[in-house]
Symmetry: C2
Subunit: 389 residues, 2 copies
């Protein structure tokens, strides 16, 4: 186990009807709020009205900016920053999923910064301050509600870069599983895939003696693979929705990654895909992760056996461990198929994807090799895209 520091200061407010407390919690941090959201779904569902009512009843003033897209764009964040400055906003309230929260995080660090907020994502500057953020979560997936991560796509070159900084970790996150009842099956599945990927990126490590965090990872992976199909089959099953939602937060608040080095190559390889093709991040991960596994599993067959046995209940083949390892990868693919995710690029309707493989591999490796479990250069990444075809 490596030395580590763990602090997760986001207050999780979980359960039925909790969005009615958003005004009360917001009022502890701000007086003038930027209410940030995506398309019109929160207006159709009535959530928007509930939030406005709660803010008003706590005497919190607000302006709003909707229109966040999946793979949130830099331009909208920049508009939010200008708006927040002009209106003297002192708190950003994100109502939505990971894209909305990531966009809110970009706004929160952009407001007190004199340069272009993209500087932080491009690694040209370090964020020192941020407006406080609150979240009402509607899509369990990215874990952004209590993580220190934000991923933004710069339309200029379709660069999709992630940023990690503690300054924009949300102050509170309201998680009501009922708000996810209307989430379509595909988005539910893509969300479950994303949270599973967050755990797998940490699970496949070269750090030894990580027993407890291995077991915590396995607990999350088992719970996601058990409950996500139930949430899809019965969209209004509160308990299945609740398990999935809580899994999504714990999969990415870094608890299960403590004391170990994560990999994160699959995320970066997927980012090129969704930057270019605007495929849902989760669907992209369902395609890339099994391909990555097939490329790297020989690096540590025993770890892949542990994954197969402890997560998918595969009976260990002591004589031929490689068979167990491969069966684990197959079971993961079967899980993705079961929840309706594509597991190959050819299933995902991406025009000319094969012709773009070299370009994506080159972009993915443009800031250096990817991955910690196995280091991947552009050539290796290209092979992984080919396995994924």
């Amino acid at each position: 186990m490596q030395n580590f520091e763990f602090l997760n200061p986001t207050r999780i407010i979980f359960g039925e009807g909790r969005e009615g407390q958003v005004g009360e919690w917001t009022a502890k941090y701000g007086k003038k709020v930027l209410l940030h959201y995506g398309g019109g779904s929160i207006k159709k569902s009535g959530l928007y009205d509930k939030i406005v009512e709660s803010l008003k009843s706590s005497n919190v003033d607000f302006i709003e900016l909707g229109g966040v897209q999946p793979n949130p764009r830099l331009a909208l964040a920049q508009r939010g920053i200008e708006l927040a400055r002009a209106e003297k906003v002192d708190f950003v309230l994100a109502v939505g999923g990971g894209s909305t929260i990531d966009s809110a995080k970009a706004i929160s660090i952009g407001v007190p910064y004199s340069g272009n907020v993209w500087d932080f994502y491009a690694g040209k500057a370090q964020a020192q301050a941020a407006l406080p953020i609150g979240v009402v979560l509607t899509i369990p997936a990215a874990g952004s509600e209590s993580s220190n991560s934000s991923v933004i796509t710069n339309e200029d070159g379709m660069l999709k870069y992630g940023l990690n900084t503690d300054v924009f970790v949300p102050k509170f996150a309201i998680l009501n599983p009922e708000l996810t009842f209307t989430l379509p099956a595909y988005q539910t599945a893509a969300g479950a895939t994303d949270m599973l990927a967050h755990v797998m990126e940490r699970y496949f490590t070269n750090t030894t003696n990580v027993d407890l965090s291995d077991k915590l990872c396995e607990a999350l992976m088992k719970s996601i693979t058990k409950n996500a199909p139930n949430a899809i089959a019965e969209p209004e099953n509160y308990d299945a929705r609740a398990e999935v939602m809580w899994c999504g937060t714990l999969a990415h608040n870094n608890l299960v990654g403590m004391g170990r080095v994560g990999d994160w190559a699959s995320h970066a390889i997927e980012h090129e895909l969704s930057a270019l093709f605007d495929i849902a991040h989760g669907a992209g991960l369902a395609i890339i992760f099994p391909a990555w596994m097939k490329y790297v599993y020989k690096h540590d067959i025993q770890r892949f056996c542990q994954f197969a046995v402890n997560v998918f209940g595969v009976e260990h083949n002591f004589a031929y461990p490689e068979k167990s390892a491969l069966e684990g990868i197959e079971r993961l693919e079967l899980f993705f198929k079961k929840i309706g995710m594509p597991t190959h690029l050819t299933e995902a309707n991406l025009p000319d994807v094969e012709a773009n493989i070299r370009l994506m591999a080159k972009k993915a490796a443009s800031r250096g090799s990817l991955g910690q479990f196995v280091k991947l250069d552009a050539e290796a990444i290209e092979k992984i895209y080919h396995i994924a075809l």
Copy 2:
């Protein structure tokens, strides 16, 4: 799953040599520190000198109060309160295990309170403020380093009462597994028992649909039962010590209890034992928990089967589930025996314990029935003490 709120604001600073940063972290919160510790072990081990050096190099002024005993006493906490007031202390640094931290917590809420600090423990007043606390942990057991709990024994009547309040949750906790290398086998085992008990108190619940938190509980229980024997067999095995130490924190920062009602009867039944006989809390729990289980298991045989199968790898007896349930309890007792804990009162050298059973049961039930999984009145508690004989 029930509605819940989760926030754990303690910064965990984990790993080799981390105690050298104590001055730096303390200086962020205070200028005049009360350094609180137990017997002389931190002086013998050289830890005291390291801490003093770190405080001095960060220009933090300090006074000290040692002498905390296991089952920490009210009188010492009261002395600490007077001392802290007289010396205008603004930060309490606990160096030790759960007893020292619990005593520091009592001091931290006593200083800004005009009445007797026992009022909080007796339920006569609610703590509103506390001096900030930091911890250098030397005994992994109680989880007090990031919990909202403190247990104090009032010598007047040997009343041992627990208090839960968020105001005294430590700001930071330094956890260096090397500091536990010198911990004797008995104390290591008692600590492991305590942390296992913290998880079991949450695991045995009537709340349904708690899949993820069940699995997180099982992860912790498996890791404790796997690593504690290794830490005892090889006291300087860093990895075993590290797993045990991190388990102790996560067992009681309430993460694994979210969304479910815990039981806590066994803790209360044990408290009467250790208040009267000054037996180590962990050793008392190793005696009481199996007795409690034998008394209550018929209330939910399936949950006891899940415990047996998922924690101890018992093969489930589908035809006679009760056999699996009882085998799980037996395996727990065997684990306690393996690490050198007593599992019966008669093994623990407690003079006249049998003659005191009625008194202890009466005291345990004096503030109402115990437990949530099964409600226990004085008569039921008496039966459990008898099973434990």
